[in-house]
Amino acid sequence: MLALHLAYWQETILRLVIGLAALLGLTGAVVYLYLFKFVSFMQSRLGPMEAGPYGSLQLLAEVGKWLQKEDVFTERADRFVFAASPFVVILSTFLLFVVVPAGPTDEVAHMSNSLLYALAVSAISVIGILMAGWASANKYALLGGLRAAGQLVAYELPMVLAVIGVVISAGSLNLQHIVAAQSTGHVFGWSGIGNPYILTQFTGFLIFLIAMQAELTQTPFDMPVAESELVAGYMVEYTGIRFLVYFIAEFATAIGFSAIAATLFLGGWGLPASWGIGHEAMHVVGPIVISAKTVLLTGVVFWVRFSFPRFREDQLQRLAWKFLIPLALGNIVVTACLKVAF
């Protein structure tokens, strides 16, 4: 262990800075890796190639561009609400990241019911989006905001229900305990790879991924920002740094949800206990493991995003209410029965 004794406030600041750096670094990496490059390859083109080697500094150029833009308010906008909304959305993202464990004690804040907290704060972004839609004084923004609210509320439910299967299996609402349960678990008596819940909770995993895609308003579910009918939905009036904050929030939330999904279903920072890696080593290995799993899952999000066309509004709601929620409820029942039986 590090022989370092920090005061509580020093430790808190250190955790916040490292957490923020990890979040923004991962977001940048994912945007370059998937949004710029992987998608370009899917479309048989190269993507950015000029800024830096293989276009790796493109993101910096884009951020620099957005920072220089004029900060425009519409004439009849509710200025305070309009200005605050992107920060409410990104706040929800940052709060989500607070509880993602990256090692035995490596999380920004210790909480006993951290999963409950994560699901709760992820819903705050709805308020920010509604604020943006209403305060813009623009019919497209309002429609986009309402669609987003309807969609996020509809898909919050299957997401929470899908998670309950994991909670029943692990017997805890604490993400650290869930990671430990997967690390020390066994599948039919075999503990070679522990028991990542993607194996026993595969239905839950699929429901979570679909709901996550919808929560992120990524493409098959991007009705709120459907550019062909709503221009850019609730973001239509935003420019400059406020748009940049929305942009960062969109992809940082993708990271946040992927990290939660990786923790719940892929074993989080933990490696199978039977591999015998020491507790101290996991402080170093853990963050790498969780980052790799998170980036991998984010890749799935972008892969799906750039493969499928957009759902219609009614199809989108039907998928949530008539298919995903009953399926998630069934999953809970089956999981509970099996939990009691074994």
Partner: protein
């Protein structure tokens, strides 16, 4: 309308298509060889490498001044009025010995404003004297919009890049365009 059921195999087929395309772009020589997306991609990095446009592509319109009779047909047919012609009459020597000197039009000005031109090609079609030709050259952007007005000397320079006429497919009723020999003027 009956609600359509999600077609599961189709969903995965779609994911497979995009993934396969991504790998085809990344590894044009197969997965065992090192990745080389710049060869796998269908696009070219434009200012560094250039594609040769097709022979008959509509890049810029060139003028062969010797063939122009200032008949103004192109000016009047141009949908957005981007051709400007001014001419005066001069006397040319008679065609046969002992004949009268002929009155011919000499161009003072023949401008095409490429900031207005929409590349419809009607002027080229309508010219009865084979004075206007398409050329595939496309790099003539300017910093000032006024510089997009090409005068008759500039248009004459483009004439050197006019490709030889390529015969149309059989069955085409389009007229054959005769390209005069280069450097005649």
């Amino acid at each position: 309308m009956a609600p359509s059921k999600p077609q599961l195999p189709g969903v995965f087929k779609g994911l497979g298509v995009t993934l396969k395309e991504a790998f085809k772009t990344m590894f044009p020589d197969g997965l065992a060889k090192p990745p080389s997306p710049s060869r796998g991609a269908q696009t070219v990095q434009y200012p560094r490498e250039k594609e040769t446009p097709a022979n008959r592509s509509r890049g810029v319109i060139s003028l062969h001044e010797d063939n122009c009779t200032s008949c103004m047909l192109c000016v009047r047919e141009c949908p957005d009025w981007c051709i400007y012609i001014e001419a005066h009459k001069t006397l040319a020597p008679p065609r046969r010995a002992g004949g009268k000197p002929r009155a011919v039009n000499t161009l003072d000005r023949f401008d095409i404003d490429y900031s207005l031109c929409m590349y419809c090609g009607i002027c080229v079609e309508v010219c009865p004297f084979e004075a206007l030709f398409w050329t595939p050259e496309y790099e003539y952007s300017e910093f000032k919009i006024a510089d997009l007005i090409h005068d008759k000397d500039r248009l004459e320079q483009w004439f050197d890049t006019v490709p030889e006429f390529e015969a149309y497919e059989s069955g085409s009723e389009a007229k054959v365009k005769k390209v005069p020999p280069k450097g005649a003027s």
